[in-house]
């Protein structure tokens, strides 16, 4: 019999009074680890026996800002914290949720989760990991005084109770499909030890690697955690991140083997570098990021749905994808394909067909027979892909009688504009992968700050998003998410252009069993080894 897939939840959402549904997680034993081993997933001819030892050097382009998973807000820290800390659950290479510090869980009712924890796990400081640490972590997150950005993600959690040292209960105040996704995500689900302070500069976790030293802008080093709980892992004895702020320097460092692996922001550069040597492996991650044009609908002319639809019709998404990404991405909608119900780039969405004539007709209907000037289109100057795509969009829109002026801008002020809703008409800032589709949809609800900023005011849409989050059945949830995306496209609230991996990872082929995943972290460094 096939083991139950995870999470196994009955299709009928209102069967709470039924006997407790139990979702057994497979114990990750060495044997099953082999079955899941990245080598097989990548399709190597024969799985080799990993060699222990050696130092993996990774080229990084951003320093961490803080290393305490509860309080950090900087995306650049995730790469580092994901090797130091682990959580109750984690993402597999195929972006399925799998057990980590928790071995299994029961769901006596849709709002209650009881996790059974792994025993014998040690923190890097020698402390034993128990249910107490789980409670401590979530108490910190939910305490407003901590100022944790995660408080919003776990807003459905009412209380965390220790039942015994290896059993912990989460009591939710609403059914929350995003709950498990958040637990599986690093750093959102990272467990921190009770009674340890200063994690920001001296991190202590249960992860495969122990923090060793950090010299800002120079390097960040980690050593293997001797008592890590997965048998035989990690294979590497050290991991060293070296910082290179400049993409050209980063690629040159890779070519000269000053680093063993890195990730690049431009697919064309990654492809060109990969071609320079047959020994370089380049694997595109799953698409996890979308490139949207945010519309300020609080005022004329974008409060007129006809103008927004015209803009969508004037956009040739396929041309952008082919020109900018060389095809290594997909046409985008609100949710990237690596999430439940994410759009996979196929299938028609309303107003996605490139039709400048129809766009002109709509504009004329809206009272702009001679075309329209939408003023400034603000873009992130530091992101060459964004700038190049905006230039193409400008030409495409011009052909339909829509004029815009490109304004490349420094990132910090642009983000201020975006989060406060003070950009005039159009603005682009890419949306990175989020733990759960709901987190992505929150950008557009009328209650969120970005939603307020864009003038989102659609009770129907808010209701749909709320319902999707409460849907625990994956199939039903995917259908709801697709309906939401269809609705957003139909109303043209946001012009989503394409979706693409955040990074095009590239490494020398002596680094074995490494897999890039869509979750924007390098969790498979734990299974990587060097064949030198």
């Amino acid at each position: 019999m096939k083991p139950p897939s995870f999470p196994m939840i009955a299709a009928e959402p209102d069967m709470a009074e039924e006997l407790s549904r139990r979702s057994l997680l497979r114990l990750v034993l060495a044997s099953s680890t082999l079955a899941l081993s990245p080598a097989i997933m990548v399709g190597d001819a024969a799985a080799e026996t990993p060699v222990s030892g050696g130092t993996l050097t990774i080229g990084a382009d951003a320093d961490p800002i803080g290393l305490d998973p509860v309080t950090l807000t900087a995306f650049s820290s995730y790469d580092f914290t994901s090797l130091i800390y682990t959580g109750l659950l984690r993402w597999s290479a195929q972006m399925k949720i799998e057990p980590d510090l928790a071995l299994s869980y029961d769901q006596p009712d849709p709002k209650t989760y009881v996790f059974r924890l792994r025993q014998g796990v040690k923190f890097h400081n020698g402390q034993d990991f128990t249910a107490n640490d789980v409670k401590h972590t979530f108490d910190r997150i939910l305490n407003p005084a901590s100022g944790s950005r995660l408080r919003a993600s776990y807003s459905s959690v009412d209380a965390v109770t220790v039942i015994d040292p290896y059993t912990v209960k989460f009591q939710l105040n609403a059914t929350d499909a995003a709950f498990l996704s958040n637990l599986a995500t690093s750093p959102n689900g990272a467990i921190v030890p009770a009674g340890v302070e200063n994690l920001n500069t001296q991190p202590v976790g249960t992860g495969p690697f122990v923090f060793e030293a950090y010299q800002p802008n120079l390097q960040f080093s980690l050593t293997a955690h001797a008592s890590y709980y997965e048998k035989g892992q990690p294979h590497l004895s050290r991991v060293v991140f070296k910082f290179y702020k400049d993409q050209a320097t980063l690629t040159s460092a890779l070519r000269s083997r000053a680093i063993d692996m890195t990730w690049l922001k431009d697919p064309k550069v990654a492809a060109a570098i990969a071609r320079t040597s047959p020994n370089l492996v380049s694997a595109p991650g799953q698409t996890s990021r979308t490139f949207p044009v945010w519309l300020n609908m609080k005022a004329k002319p974008l409060n007129d749905i006809r103008v927004r639809r015209a803009l969508s019709l004037a956009t040739d998404r396929k041309a952008c994808l082919d020109t900018i990404l060389g095809g290594s991405g997909k046409i985008g909608a609100m949710i990237p394909e690596s999430q439940v119900g994410g759009y996979d780039g196929t299938g028609e969405l309303p107003y996605y067909k490139h039709d400048p004539a129809a766009a002109k007709a709509l504009l004329a209907e809206a009272g702009y027979p001679d075309g329209i000037d939408l003023g400034n289109y603000i873009i992130v100057a530091a992101n060459p892909l964004d700038v190049a795509c905006a230039q193409i969009l400008q030409q495409q829109w011009q052909a339909a009688g829509i004029t815009v002026k490109l304004v490349p801008m420094e990132t910090a002020p642009l983000l201020t504009m975006w989060t406060t809703g003070t950009w005039p008409t159009l603005l682009s800032v890419a949306l990175s992968w989020t733990p759960d589709s709901d987190a992505t949809l929150q950008y557009i609800t009328s209650g969120s700050n970005t939603g307020k900023g864009m003038g989102s005011n659609d009770a129907e849409l808010d209701r749909m998003i709320l319902e999707a989050r409460a849907e625990l059945d994956l199939g039903l949830r995917a259908a709801k998410n697709l309906a939401i995306q269809r609705h957003i496209a139909d109303q043209a609230y946001i012009i989503q252009v394409y979706q693409y991996p955040l990074r095009w990872e590239i490494w020398w082929n002596y680094v074995k069993d490494y897999v890039p995943i869509a979750a924007n972290i390098r969790s498979f460094v734990r299974t990587a080894w060097l064949k030198k």
Binding site: G66, A248, A412, W418
Partner: protein, 313 residues
């Protein structure tokens, strides 16, 4: 004399105060702050951003913030970096040492190259002169960050076996340290070296037409000796002055060159700090850099006053 020196010192303090305040106000006039820059394009609730700002004291009035910073700075406490949560001062001094080393290597390279090409152009007319002047004209127009990027690309593509990236601390391996600084120093030195080259050429030509050189030639001294004892010695004074003035340009150029070559010096530190809006670090760097410039200038003023009777005291 004493009054002159005291006046100079008072003036120095006033300038430092003004510079630090202007830098403070300008940084805060830039839109976006640390909390926003750190969050990036993630949706972070406004109350979380507010909590971060409060934690860092960014919610107080501008003057209150400046006053608090000044009080600490006077006592030698340059504050704590927002990004690393570490005190700024030790980090800054480490980086200052790296930048000085880079600047020193660049200054030596530019002197050697500049004087050699300038002398060659001045002494050998015709083709050599023409080539040197053409090269100088071109190099003067190319910014050093372009040169740096080209060097990185060339070595990355054609000589990947030469590992030129990153930085090796001097105490770890002195030779590798010098090696890791050579190319960035070259990128930094090229623009300065052509200025020195032009200066040298002009100065040598000017001195060559003066009476005492004519006399030396008439006496039948060998050309090598004329060059060494008459031309170079007399032409070098303006060249050295010009080189001294260019040191500031080297320091400025180090910002981009260090960033491109991943050299952990003060320039890269400033670049990153401005991007991440790490105010305490920016303040500390501006204060330190302006202090260096102001102190050096004041010392030169006082020294001139000592040796030059025409400077009224």
């Amino acid at each position: 004399m004493k009054r002159f020196v005291l006046g100079r010192l008072a003036w120095m303090l006033a300038i430092l105060l003004a510079v630090s305040f202007i830098a403070f106000a300008m940084m805060r006039a830039l839109p976006g702050d640390f909390a926003i820059a750190a969050a990036g394009s993630q949706s972070v609730a406004p109350e979380v951003l507010a909590a971060i700002r409060q934690d860092l004291g960014l919610d107080r009035s501008l003057l209150a913030q400046y006053w608090a910073w000044l009080g600490h700075a006077i006592l030698g406490d340059l504050g704590t970096s927002f990004v690393t949560r570490q005190p700024v001062r030790p980090e800054l001094f480490d980086r200052l040492a790296v930048t000085f080393q880079l600047t020193l290597v660049a200054a030596i390279i530019s002197m050697v190259m500049g004087v050699a090409t300038g002398l060659a152009a001045a002494r050998m007319r015709g083709t050599v002169d023409w080539i040197v002047r053409l090269y100088n004209g071109v190099m003067l127009a190319v910014p050093n960050y372009v040169v740096a990027t080209l060097i990185v690309l060339l070595f990355g593509l054609y000589f990947p076996q030469v590992s030129i990236f990153g930085y090796t601390p001097f105490l770890e391996d002195p030779l590798a340290n010098i090696g890791s600084l050579l190319l960035p120093a070259l990128a930094l030195a090229l623009a300065v070296s052509v200025t020195i080259s032009e200066n040298t050429r002009a100065a040598v030509l000017e001195v060559a037409n003066q009476d005492f050189v004519m006399v030396a030639r008439a006496k039948g001294l060998p050309p090598g000796r004329i060059l060494r004892d008459y031309l170079v010695r007399n032409a070098m004074t303006p060249v050295i002055t010009a080189t001294g003035l260019k040191i500031a340009a080297l320091l400025g150029g180090s910002i981009l060159v260090e960033t491109i070559f991943a050299i952990p010096g003060m320039g890269q530190y400033l670049f990153d700090s401005i991007n991440s809006r790490d105010y305490p670090v920016i303040q500390a760097i501006v204060l330190t850099a302006s202090a260096i410039v102001v102190v050096v200038n004041t010392m030169i003023d006082i020294a001139y006053a000592r040796v030059d009777a025409r400077v009224k005291l």
